[in-house]
């Protein structure tokens, strides 16, 4: 029973981080109809920035205060996104989709090496934060408290996004633009500004995912592409452009991955791709997507 709880919590942990990344990707697509192939790099960037900042101050600040630094990764990713959208993405909205893919792929290459340039080829970590929180005893199992924090962040993010998109005025503008850009424009909405805001928000989410998982898993060079591919599996299942889909997809992927690791450690990746393939075959738009 206690082992079961640990498994459930681990699945939720993975789902939380995935929701942040995939939710950001879906949000951007929903509003702007573009897929940023470099989205995973924003996640990695968030992790690296947080790790770096914590590393700078770890000797001088008390651990409790260091937690406050984590969101800096998310903010940095948001800032990077705010810079990238008007410069690199906007010139391509009117052009054939191949060019959008090519430019975001070029961005992926640039950011991949940028991470290496800034922080070197070795992983960065801030495990002090992870260890400082201690662990919970569940029956005979031990579970790190930090992971519970990550799950809480994921849940809060889901709630926050929902409230933001459905309860705020900006959310209304976002939804209007996403449903009919021309109409929104005709109604006086500054679409360019909405785009940059949506993109920034999406990057913030990805960066937050990276920042929040970093104390547990460190910041590693390849985390970006792995994250992108996993986020892709989530949006395939949940439907590109849907936040509910990102949530449900993330939960499903989290659970399946946990089952996979437990029973079939060798083919864990394959099970996830299989799941995505099955969903693509039955319902190509995903569970919540717009066909």
């Amino acid at each position: 029973m206690d082992i079961l709880i640990v498994h459930v919590l681990t699945a939720l942990l993975y789902a939380s981080v995935l929701f942040l990344i995939a939710g950001g990707l879906s949000l951007i697509y929903g509003v702007m109809r573009i897929v940023n192939l470099a989205h995973g790099m924003l996640y990695a960037f968030g992790a690296y920035v947080s790790a770096w900042v914590v590393g700078l101050l770890v000797a001088r600040w008390p651990v409790a205060l260091l937690f406050a630094l984590l969101p800096l990764g998310a903010l940095a990713a948001a800032g990077l996104g705010a810079l990238l959208e008007p410069t690199l993405l906007r010139p391509f909205y009117r052009r054939a989709e191949e060019y959008q893919l090519l430019v975001t792929f070029g961005l992926l290459l640039i950011l991949a090496d940028l991470l290496r340039l800034l922080w070197g080829p070795y992983p960065l970590s801030a495990s002090q934060l992870y260890e400082a929180m201690g662990s919970l005893t569940i029956g005979e199992a031990i579970y790190p408290n930090y992971n519970l924090v990550v799950i809480a962040v994921g849940a809060l993010a889901a709630l926050g996004m929902w409230a933001f998109v459905y309860k705020t005025q900006f959310g209304v503008i976002l939804r209007a633009t996403s449903q009919n850009m021309r109409m929104a424009q005709a109604l006086g909405i500054n679409v360019n500004r909405v785009y940059v805001q949506a993109f920034t928000l999406g990057c913030f989410m990805a960066g937050l995912g990276g920042a929040v998982i970093m104390p547990s898993q460190g910041a590693v060079l390849d985390m970006g592409v792995d994250a992108l591919i996993m986020a892709f599996v989530v949006v395939v299942i949940g439907g590109l452009g849907s936040l509910e889909g990102a949530l449900v997809g993330a939960l499903l992927v989290g659970v399946v991955r946990e089952l996979g690791i437990t029973f079939f450690p060798e083919i864990e990746l394959a099970v996830l791709y299989l799941m995505a393939a099955v969903v693509l075959l039955i319902r190509p738009a995903g569970l919540f997507g717009r066909p």
Binding site: V35, E98, L109, A112, D113
Partner: protein
């Protein structure tokens, strides 16, 4: 794409001298330079394959490293398990293996287009990359597998001849012949009724369906041909390199293939060839210059797409094209 294939007369004006130059290359250049050029020819074969999908069918794959790697590893595994070192067997093995894998992957991927297609191809190649590590007892893991100098048409490396000379001469000509054949075959394919159907699919998928072209099936065939060409390139690459590692399965190598095709101009037949050869030199320069050459590539790619989307050959066509309509970017 031009509205009709290059009239033979016009093409011969630069093909014949080109072939002559290619033929005498080893006598003019140092062995190292010739071998470097061989790499370019091999990549050109991969680029031709890749562009069948991109330029002619309108599908942008970010996972072609998978087929290159399958071709390369097929060769390495033939050496490891069958102890055969005949280049003919390598070539056949590489072609068969990559045809099978691209048929399989293609079946899944061509159900989707654009973004989903792109990410799906990338994801599948990453799966292969991670498998190359997981099954390290077969693939040699991160150390990879060594491949000795193969015999060409039954003739092995004589004990007194050094490998560099061999590579620069006999292996170079072998690659050159295959390159010329592969180019000729691809030229026929893209100018065939099948090739026209692919271009129709690229231009207007719905209309193609309504003209009786079963879009998914044709895309799949294009995918298989494309993957097989890239696998052939992989098979020819390994003996040059002496070694195959999981790096060539990684998405960054797919990126290189995309890059040099776009560099040369994916809207023309010869663009990918030019791009591959130019890139080969570009990369050698960049790698020697900085360890962050991937960033350099990314910057050039972004600049290309922003400023020169039709690539080198597109620029050339515009400079010398004159009367002919330039294809829309």
């Amino acid at each position: 794409m031009s509205a009709w294939p290059l009239p033979p007369a016009r093409a011969l004006r630069w093909i014949v001298p080109g072939l002559v130059i290619l033929a005498v290359l080893p006598w003019v250049l140092e062995p190292y330079q010739t071998t470097l050029f061989s790499y370019g020819l091999v990549m050109a074969i991969a680029a031709l394959g890749f562009n069948l999908l991109l330029g002619y069918t309108g599908l942008l794959s970010f996972g072609h490293s998978a087929y290159f790697g399958v071709g390369a590893y097929a060769v390495a595994l033939i050496v490891k398990y069958f102890k055969i070192t005949s280049l003919e067997v390598f070539v056949v093995g590489g072609i068969v293996a990559s045809a099978v894998v691209s048929a399989l992957f293609g079946f899944v991927c061509v159900r989707y287009t654009r973004i989903f297609f792109g990410i799906l191809t990338m994801a599948l190649s990453q799966v292969l990359w991670s498998l190359a590590f997981k099954f390290f007892w077969i693939t040699g893991g991160s150390d990879g597998l060594r491949v000795p100098t193969p015999s060409l048409m039954g003739v092995s490396l004589p004990p007194r001849e050094d490998k560099m000379t061999f590579l620069a001469h006999r292996y170079y000509y072998y690659v050159l012949v295959i390159f010329v054949l592969a180019t000729a075959v691809m030229w026929v394919i893209v100018h065939s009724p099948f090739g026209k159907a692919l271009q129709a699919i690229r231009d207007n998928e719905t209309r193609a369906e309504f003209v009786g072209v079963q879009v998914r099936h044709y895309r799949w065939v294009a995918f298989v041909v494309s993957g097989t060409y890239t696998g052939l390139a992989g098979a020819l690459w390994v003996p040059l390199n002496g070694l195959t590692t999981p790096d060539i399965l990684h998405w960054t190598f797919s990126g290189e293939i995309v890059f040099f095709t776009v560099l040369g101009g994916f809207g023309t037949f010869a663009g990918p060839i030019v791009g591959a050869i130019v890139f080969n030199y570009l990369k050698t320069f960049a790698v020697g210059y900085t360890v962050y050459w991937q960033m350099f590539l990314g910057v050039v790619l972004v600049s290309l797409v922003l400023a020169l989307p039709t690539g080198i050959m597109g620029m050339v066509a515009r400079l010398f094209g004159g009367r002919r309509k330039a294809p829309a970017a």
